[in-house]
Amino acid sequence: MSSFHDAKNTYWDGRFKRNTVKLLPGEYHSTKGDEMLVTVLGSCVAACIRDARSGIGGMNHFLLPEQRNSENKKNFAESYDSSVTRYGDLAMEMLINDIIRRGGDRKYFEAKVFGGAQMFESSMQIGQRNIEFVREYLDFESIPINSEDVAGKQGRKVYYIPETGEIFLKRIVSLHNNTIEQREAKYLRQAKETKTEAEIDFF
């Protein structure tokens, strides 16, 4: 079973005047209408992908549970043997499939990438490897990245409107609470336990 879910948490955003879907780590969501998507990122990354012609698009929010083999110069396809690559690939494919299912056309896909911050000393490589993975994946799929805001030391709150492609980004200066770190640490534990082998049915 995959640990990726379609985000269900919605609210009316009075400031933007839009129905809004809030994504947590391990979630994705795509939309055909005028919904807005929002998420808060620490070392996790979010890929925002849309069909620039129809405005059908969506977002995911994930991180790679561990170091990838590709650090030993393997290319994406060869490193698919590692469960970490399979996990990241799934995060991207679940989102892309969802956009295609709603009628998005791959030919017109464009992407924006956010997150991968170094929230505390030890998380530097976590953020960096997530950024590298997403860039590598999108490059492989010939999906152009037309803007990104990644790395650094601060968390981010990202609002995305697939209909128009607009992004509103807020940096989070964490003073008293470490909600983002706690949430991501919990998600990281789940990600590590995710099964990355296929279930097979013979008919």
Binding site: A77, Y80, D89, L90, N97, F140, T196, A198, I200
Partner: protein, 120 residues
């Protein structure tokens, strides 16, 4: 002669992953980007066909239906390789004529194991 497999997936990374795995195992591989592209390759007989489900232009279920109408590949075993895991979709796939349903993510070795089981 090497057995020839048709692999259909809209993801370039998947095409490369599966292409490398099967070539390393001694199979010959033909790839297609979506169901429609897959149909255009049905001029010859394949030992097995592996297809994704969610693809632009023609999805995997429609593609399987087209394979079943093709004189060359009517009896070719079909493997569905997809992120979809719902029983309802599996039923549709089975009804259309899929022999195997594999839910991504998968280990390349698992796919080779399935092929070996189907092709001997």
């Amino acid at each position: 002669m090497a057995k020839k497999i048709l692999f259909v997936d809209d993801s370039a990374s998947m095409r490369q992953v599966v292409g490398i795995a099967m070539k390393n195992a001694g199979y010959e591989v033909e790839t297609a980007n979506d169901g429609q592209d897959g149909v255009s390759k049905l001029g010859e007989r394949f030992s097995a066909i592996i297809t994704d489900l969610n693809m632009p232009n023609m999805n995997g279920i429609e593609f399987i239906k087209a394979i079943k109408q093709d004189a060359n590949n009517k009896f070719t075993p079909i493997i569905m390789l997809t992120t979809e895991s719902s029983d309802e979709m599996k039923k549709q796939g089975q009804a259309a004529g899929a022999k195997v349903w594999m839910v991504k993510p998968f280990k390349p070795a698992q796919l080779l194991m399935v092929l070996q089981k189907l092709l001997g």
